[in-house]
């Protein structure tokens, strides 16, 4: 059973978003890490990059395959989690602790299109 946290928002492409004021903290869900298997590489954007909702902003590599990351919201990358870039296996260990980027949202109303925990749970069942 995949873990789903209450209080987060979720995208159809299996990213989670934690809203902290005007900042969106973004990672991938436990379901996503479990589907991918052992994650060996995080291709993250640079601080200062602009990302756009629905567009690819990076990728996670597992042994077998590469999975693109899609931006759940638009905005400017203000921080990249260097810890998971150095130790990608942290994403497998706890996908919700292993955030990937923090984004200063340019249009917080985009959050409305994301799913809550219950809707995300239903979508992966």
């Amino acid at each position: 059973m995949s873990k789903i946290l209450e209080g987060l928002l979720y995208s159809e492409s299996h990213e989670w978003v934690k809203v902290e004021g005007g900042i969106a903290v973004i990672g991938v869900t436990d379901f996503a890490q479990s589907e991918m298997g052992d994650i060996t590489y995080v291709d993250a954007p640079e601080e200062g990059d602009e990302i756009e909702k629905g567009e690819e902003f990076g990728a996670l590599e597992s042994v077998k395959a590469s999975s693109d990351l899609y931006a759940p919201v638009s905005g400017k990358v203000v921080e990249v989690n260097e810890e998971i870039v150095d130790s990608p296996e942290l994403v497998n260990e706890d996908a919700y602790a292993a955030w990937i980027i923090k984004v200063e949202m340019s249009d917080p109303s985009e959050l409305e299109s994301l799913m809550d925990a219950a809707a995300y749970k239903a979508s992966i069942e």
Partner: protein, 377 residues
Amino acid sequence: MNEPTPDILQKTCLYDSHVALGARMSPFAGFMMPIQYTSIIEEHNAVRQAAGMFDVSHMGEIFIDGPEAEAFINHIFTNEIRGFEPGKVLYGMMCYPDGGVVDDLLVYREFAPESFLLVVNAANIAKDYDWILAQAKANPLSGKPFDCRIVNASPEWGQIAVQGPDAEKVVVEVLGLKEAPALQFYTFCDASWGGSRLILSRTGYTGEDGFELYTTLEGTREIWDILLKAGVPPCGLGCRDTLRFEAGLPLYGDELSPEISPVMAGLGMFCKFDKEFIGKDALLAQKAGELDKKLVGIELEDNAVPRAGYPVETPEGAEVGVVTTGYHSISLDKSICFALVGKEFSALDTPLSVRIRKKVFPGKVVKKRFYQTNYKK
């Protein structure tokens, strides 16, 4: 190898066990096969450090015997089987007249006179069998059919590979196959299991010492269950690919194909040009310089992962090739790949980059055997 999913996927005799073990199953070569049971990295390391077992029952077994069996196989097989003794195993290819590869395979010279076993790739069983039957119709020397019998016995044989430095111990102590220690790499012997034949072969596809056990479907299920109870970890095709890749071993479809000849793939040593075989003239011409591409190893400076199909570029940005297989190597902790590149870029240490998504990652040409193999000589 990626291929369209056939409408009906076959199951090996161990399918139920894979499902019961919770393996992640995926179509491969027309069969539903286990990709991983726990994690590709754990299974890979089990084989490198101790021992693991694989269901390779999908592989094909074609038996050829008769007065002209040797002459026939030598005609379709790139390697030289004359003078090769019973109990030995030889690797090589079957080629088309243009040098492209029908399949790569193992040839076993059986203990019975004039008898051989050909072990072929699962995806190619039907194609190979048809090819072999067609070639057997005309001996180029006499114009008559070769005097031999050809039997595709693939559905009746199961196969388990036990691989890793502890493989011999497992085969002797858990399965009681006391013949194992006397075998050197690329030799086999006949043993028995439950009154039926068991071919105990010291071969494998991992870069480690190991054995491949061919027997009946029933015997295969029994052996698998005994090994499971003894704690030998089942390993999926995921790590079979990472293991063979690190050891520099080609996979048909990726590094060998109708378009990628053994000479292009750097496997010319398995083609013997002092005898006649189908494809010889084309391969000789390629060796003499009529060759535009070569398979190389590339090591990247970064940990980004090169995947099949990604473009290979010069430092100036000219596209000169394509990745055929790539991984972040589990045993070496480096990002490495096989790539088919223009011949002029194939020398060791040539700087080549791989384009991975939007970025270009620099690297250089290295030897294809990335990992030091540990065979029993």
